[in-house]
């Protein structure tokens, strides 16, 4: 399964990623970072399309895509 990693100290809680995600993986977490912004969290079936990362103004998202057939 693909997944994303949110760099919480870079996130500014703008929610452009929430809007961009085609599968609704992202949502506000209720936690705040040192800058005082509510950070996003990921929960659900990520397809690794990187739409969230393309829209993120703060490059706060890393995307890992699963590679079929290869051993971990």
């Amino acid at each position: 399964m693909s997944r994303i990693q949110i760099l919480e100290e870079r996130c500014k809680g703008c929610r452009l990623c929430v809007e961009a995600c085609p599968t609704g993986v992202l949502r506000p977490s209720g936690r705040f970072n040192h800058q005082g912004y509510e950070v996003m969290e990921a929960d659900g079936q990520c397809v690794g399309c990187a739409s969230c990362a393309v829209m993120c103004p703060d490059t706060a998202i890393r995307v890992f895509k699963s590679v079929k057939g290869a051993a971990a």
Binding site: R3, R10, R15, L16, M55, F64, K65, S66, V67, A72
Partner: protein
Amino acid sequence: MTSAKKSVPPRAEKLVFDVNPVLNERPTHYCPGCHHGIAHRLVSEALHELGVADRTILVASVGCAAFTYDYFNVDSVEAPHGRACAVATGVRRARPGAVVFTYQGDGDMAAIGTAESLHAANRGEKITAVFINNTVYGMTGGQMAPTTLLGQKTTTSRRGRDFDNEGGPIRLTEIMAQLQGVAYAARCALDSVKHVKEAKKAVRRAFDAQIAGLGFGFVELLSSCPTNWHMDPVAANRHIAEEMIPVFPLGVFRDVMKEKGNA
């Protein structure tokens, strides 16, 4: 995400999206949802993919983008307000091997720096200009810019911009495309995944034009300013799609590389 408990074999994963080394990891000073961050990323990716970051010189402007030099791992010069293209002219002529680009907002490039920008373009200076159009003066508190839409309320157009009093929004890309020295002129938007991907290609092409020595590369990016538009970032993106793009049509207005057939 381990699948050790299940019988299916574990799958490898590949990092497909990460911060590239041309952009440093310092959090930006921009407001939440500001498209400057996306524009920074597109420029840094273009420099990274071209492999020219070590010989790139950024000419920073005045405005919200005044601290651009803090975020790029390239050499930089800070220009006086509006004069980034003039400074870049000097930098590029003194260092012919360098890749020189300016990063300017609409207040900087389309208002105080119109003369410097248009004449640098007209001379065909081998530089690239990234023009961020968000229809307001962002850093100083949302005053009317030359690109402000008709009817748009700002702190200096309280009843909305009126053509009879303040004129209409300047379409700088169309003006640039008329000039002989311009090798590439395009307008893109940063409001959706599709448009950002198109913008990435345009930014890359604006650098290609310079590196090929064909002339001035220009790319205008329609960006949001949620703070001064008094909208949340998601509504600001919709504002770009519904209000800005009809006034500022997207597209490539001049591409000498294509005309010459080596696209």
